[in-house]
């Protein structure tokens, strides 16, 4: 069991998402940075889709009730286990009674990020709902009682698959292995969407060539961006229709909104583009207040980018496996 000591109220239990339920109007939820969650699980010998805790507000503290292997991935938040420092993206062992504290993510390192993932051996054990343990905030189900974690909450661990799995090693984060920037700003690749042609040439140029600021009205539901307003050639009015995370909508203000993991499954704003699935993890780690760039891409490139993510995870899995088996032999 781990006990939540912080009252930040925005940390949630997440796995890789509740896929396949959009037809019932149930959004995907899931980790904003799925690569970090999957890597945390790999470090512990868990299934990559085991549930962990997504932490967007710091400091964040938990106490371990029993000896437990854990890993903190995502943003480097200078974690400490009692008074010992804990490296980021590293498998560690906590003893019963020890307190893990995640500090404010560093912004002076080699990769800027804003969300940390706390994974434990066996995964966080909450009931599966529609095939996932992710917290569905809109519907108030999944995760722990369908809500964000509170001080005093206690979370159990799932069954540990491999009790001989080693600790005391780490992974090089994918933010360093798969960098993507444009003119010094973090970038994401975008496919033009259905209403792309409804915007003026000047707006197209601005969309691709200007940095967009992630405003403070940005969270797991969506990111509101600020930049040169996008103008349509003529007013665009549409009925509500199905949308997915990554869709970039343009409301009347001309300031785009990117739908994120807790997005509602339908909307009526025109869509200028869609951030490709392979780059959503990058978006999930963009700190509020920073600027991002959009890079135009194609379907084939988008599929290839997803393949590169899978390749990174595959290599991480292979190296962790090799390390585990070499430790088992000695």
């Amino acid at each position: 069991m781990i006990e939540i000591l912080s009252s930040s109220a925005l940390a949630t239990v997440q796995d890789l998402g509740r896929l396949g339920a959009l037809r019932w109007g149930v959004g995907t939820s899931g980790a904003m940075d799925p690569l970090a969650l999957a890597a945390g699980n790999l470090l512990l010998g868990n299934d990559e889709g085991a549930a962990g805790i997504e932490v967007p507000v710091f400091p964040f503290e938990v106490r371990f009730d029993a000896d437990c292997a854990f890993a903190v991935t995502g943003a480097d938040c200078m974690a400490r286990l009692d008074d010992a420092s804990v490296l980021p993206w590293w498998a560690c062992e906590a003893n019963a009674g020890q307190v893990l504290r995640l500090g404010v993510p560093r912004q002076d390192g080699t990769w800027r990020a804003c969300r940390a993932y706390l994974c434990v051996a066996g995964g966080i054990d909450v009931p599966e709902v529609l095939g996932s343990r992710s917290t569905q905030m809109r519907g108030a189900f999944g995760g722990l009682e369908g809500r964000a974690l509170q001080r005093g909450d206690r979370l159990g661990q799932g069954k540990v698959c491999d009790s001989a799995h080693p600790v005391g090693f780490g992974l090089v984060p994918p933010g360093l292995a798969l960098p993507l920037q444009a003119d010094g700003h973090p970038a994401v690749r975008v496919l033009p969407a259905a209403e792309y042609d409804c915007y003026t040439e000047a707006s197209h140029a601005a969309f691709w060539s200007q940095p967009w600021k992630v405003t403070s009205q940005s969270d797991r539901y969506g990111y509101r961006l600020a930049g040169t307003p996008l103008e349509s050639v003529r007013p665009v009015e549409m009925r509500s229709h199905g949308i997915v995370p990554g869709v970039i909508q343009v409301p009347a203000s001309g300031q785009p909104i990117i739908q994120m993991c807790d997005a509602q499954p339908s909307g009526g704003y025109p869509k200028i583009g869609t951030v490709i699935e392979a780059d959503r993890w990058r978006l999930g780690q963009i700190p509020i207040g920073s600027q991002i760039r959009f890079i135009e891409t194609t379907w084939d490139e988008a599929v290839d980018a997803l393949e590169q993510n899978r390749h990174w995870l595959g290599e991480a899995r292979r190296w962790v496996g090799l390390h585990g088996s070499s430790r088992a032999r000695t």
């Binding site: 480097d76 010992a84 490296l87 980021p88 993206w89 590293w90 560093r106 002076d108 390192g109 080699t110 990769w111 005391g168 090693f169 780490g170 992974l171 090089v172 984060p173 360093l176 292995a177 990174w312 290599e315 991480a316 292979r318 190296w319 962790v320 090799l322 390390h323």
Partner: protein, 133 residues
């Protein structure tokens, strides 16, 4: 001795080509070392070590790339002269996507890395010197 005095002495030292400044008084002892443009306070333990038994040498458990800092960070994992506890990670060895620790086998003082940051090393290469407490 006041913090301001140490700062002033550091500034003077930084402007010279003198490498080491040592001050001894009845109730204080200060040792400053210039490292490029930076001046660092040399811990008493490290000075003591210079006269003590030979250091422990930590060697590579595998081939890999030697790293003095975590890839997400720009500062070294430990400072020279820093007191470290058994199991503490002093440096890293990168092998593919993996990071393996170069850790202190016992409590002691981190002395110095023996190879450059980013150097490719073979099995058994001496990587880091520390002294036992």
């Amino acid at each position: 001795m006041q913090t301001d005095d140490v700062r002033q002495l550091s500034a003077w030292l930084a402007a010279t080509d003198i490498e080491l400044l040592e001050l001894r008084g009845p109730d204080h002892h200060l040792c400053l070392r210039r490292e490029g443009e930076q001046v660092v306070v040399v811990a008493a333990e490290e000075q003591a070590q210079e006269h003590a038994e030979p250091p422990l040498v930590l060697s590579a458990v595998s081939v890999g790339v030697f790293l003095q800092n975590h890839p997400l960070r720009t500062e070294a994992l430990v400072r020279r002269g820093q007191q470290v506890r058994a199991g503490e990670v002093l440096a890293l060895l990168k092998i593919g996507a993996l990071l393996l620790p170069v850790s202190a086998p016992q409590d002691g003082i981190a002395l110095r890395p023996l190879v450059a940051h980013g150097a490719t090393v073979g099995f058994g290469t001496p990587l880091f010197e520390m002294s036992a407490l």
